[in-house]
Symmetry: C2
Subunit: 412 residues, 2 copies
């Protein structure tokens, strides 16, 4: 059984250089595996020499695969769009998330890797967890469930809804804690108060799938419940998790995370907000540079809890900033394409507003040296099919919020 001391395993407290070396030395094999066994990558990486992908720089030169592409990929090549290295029938379970996007779980113990987060939340072998995430169709419930099993916990698969029965089960089974969305625990506690049932056995909670606001965390703490969150997706499983240190989210040990400028595959500087791009070492769904559509940023330093892996700030919004300007879709990829036409542009950000009955687009650019604003405006019209005013901004002055398109129109 994993995790009987303070840490789930020795990987968590490795020397960061040893971790980086281990991940980067596993990377060429994973790239080769994906190319050999996942048809999508056989094509996407056909010109790549897998053996040469031994550094973050080499990785950053590979194409990103966007979550938003997956629906179409899977429609044309069911069931998994060629992204999986195993057949559906050889999985343990197959899921569908809204989109629809299809995912899988193999029979490997704790396939999604959430055991690490369950352990960090304080759960230990022999405890019972009430899991209020759905097991039907989507993998949410299964991710928490298999993580709990990996730690040696029993699970009550409560699922969603049926609040009164859930409260009755809480009062009868007296679980040590809760797994689910951050807000539903409040619903359960409120209903328990109303029903005058004692659910005070719940002292710990592992939450995900939605924002845990600081006030919400404090309210739980006031009731004697410590709540930690994690960041996981249906395709990748665990990406990062909170520890009791409560300083950002610590990366999982199976992933290489890059933060890139939205719409591109280009890593941003450390600390800058961008899109979370993940390369996983999981063999069954060997995603290489998978762009999650989520925004976050790398934090400097290490967690005081003793876990040595890189930390990220957690979920900071969605990177998909596609919007419509005067009836035309404008996408972050197009802003990146405009910038790419002008070597002097270091960073560009489109602001969309509405005044006098029409949409007003302003492209702010940080540039090195001279800027030919007229040429940039022409490029913008050519790429985006709508016009924009070009405005020069001081280097470093554009906000660090991961936004490439900032839509500030008021629609109400």
């Amino acid at each position: 059984m994993a995790g009987t001391g303070d840490f789930y395993d020795d990987l968590e407290t490795r020397d960061p250089e040893a971790r980086e070396k281990a991940l980067l030395s596993a990377l060429p094999d994973q790239v080769a595996h994906a190319r050999a066994n996942a048809p999508f990558y056989s094509d996407a990486l056909k010109d790549v020499d897998a053996k040469s992908i031994t550094s973050r720089e080499a990785l950053a030169a590979l194409p990103v695969t966007r979550k938003s592409e997956v629906i179409e990929l899977q429609k044309s090549k069911p069931p998994f769009g060629g992204l999986a290295a195993i057949d559906a029938g050889d999985a343990a379970a197959v899921f569908t998330s809204p989109g629809p996007i299809y995912e899988l779980m193999s029979g490997t113990k704790d396939y999604f890797g959430l055991g690490r987060s369950v352990f960090a939340c304080g759960f230990r072998k022999g405890e019972l967890i009430h899991n209020s995430l759905a097991y039907h169709m989507t993998p949410g419930g299964w991710m928490f469930h298999s993580g709990a099993q990996a730690v040696g916990c029993a699970v009550f698969p409560a699922g969603v809804g049926n609040t009164e029965q859930q409260v009755e089960a809480l009062a009868h089974l007296k679980p040590a804690g809760y797994g689910g969305t951050p807000d539903f625990l409040q619903v359960l506690l409120g209903k328990a108060d109303e029903m005058k049932l004692d659910v005070s056995s719940v002292k710990k909670a592992m939450v995900g799938g939605g924002p845990l606001f600081p006030a919400m965390r404090e309210a739980y703490n006031a009731r004697g419940i410590s709540v930690l969150q994690n960041y996981a997706t249906a395709e990748l499983g665990l990406i990062a998790y909170e520890s009791p240190a409560l300083e950002g989210m610590i990366l999982d040990e199976r992933v290489i995370v890059e933060i890139v400028r939205p719409g591109t595959g280009d890593p941003v500087d450390e600390g800058e907000v961008g899109e979370v791009v993940v390369t996983t070492m999981v063999p069954e769904l060997p995603l290489i540079r998978f762009a999650t559509g989520d925004l976050s940023a790398v934090m400097t330093g290490q967690s005081p809890c003793g876990r040595t892996n890189t930390r990220i700030k957690g979920w900071m919004g969605r990177a998909d900033q596609t919007t419509k300007v005067r009836g035309m879709f404008v996408r972050p990829e197009q802003i990146a394409a405009v910038a790419a036409r002008h070597g002097e542009i270091a960073k560009a950000r489109l602001t969309v507003d509405h005044a006098g009955g029409k949409d007003i687009s302003t492209l702010q650019v940080e540039a090195n040296g001279d800027l030919n604003a007229e040429a940039v405006a022409e490029s913008f019209r050519a790429v985006c099919k709508v016009g924009a005013t070009i405005e020069r901004a001081e280097p470093g002055s554009l906000p660090n919020d991961g936004k490439v398109i900032d839509d500030i129109r008021k629609f109400d």
Copy 2:
């Protein structure tokens, strides 16, 4: 991987005497285990010499535990009423069924034993099954799921509801078959026709949890889907299953099944309808003579499919025939108590009708030798607190339908 030939394992084709010997030689250990590790049985079987329970006669002398008692047992001794030999936290999962009754699943592979039934339905390793039973709270979905995993199948945990999304998933994932209630597959097929989506990959179905009417089975067959059912409960897992021979249900290899007169623990003659009482060899929830409340009957002979275990007729109704006569509850146990006071009574059956504005109770009795009807009427009043007319019936003339109380009043 189990089951690559025609049978799931060698147990299915054993010499019936060898099976009986194996079950009866395991029985004393199971009784001793229950008494030592399940607090309810420590009490209920405290005067029993476990070593002596080596025959069906000895087993038949042990007390039955009725499913209807479990709710109160569990209320007074949460979570499992002392029936389990493991703690909730040492289970893999804990469930609740309407009642509420709480059940568990251990981490043992295919804890519920449904793999045998999945295999008999024709499913094989590497196939995908669409499972439309619920995973939330109740164990239904888990029972099918872990059975499918034991055979080496992948599962799409569809759960209940969301019919359109379920049809979309069927059309996209093209599973080999369906698991669920007998009627919901009709709903899915109807919706698929309406949505003009092709779900013809579904060729097999394993159904349970409700009646599979012959016309329904034929309608599925006409669409090229073979449908087999099983009989399983949340506490016991698999009890019996259909094979392609379609002659009754073959008993599972882990259970000793008795058919008893409802309200008693007394085995009926072979072929007679009575309540299904199960003793299981599963260690985690070691139920000894657990009265399911379901009616069935043993069939003579063996299945032509080659499986040699005893067959039962499948579900024939509920044994719980408790009713109210002139405001008083009358239970099968009370009819049994009346009969027990008069050695000459071989079988008794109460018919409750309503005429002239009042309830009319008639106790029909099959008797050996003389019958003192007046004394029986007195006993009836003493035990049931209401009167009844006593009518002598020819030996063997009372219907073989498992009914001890037949309520023929029309309430509409």
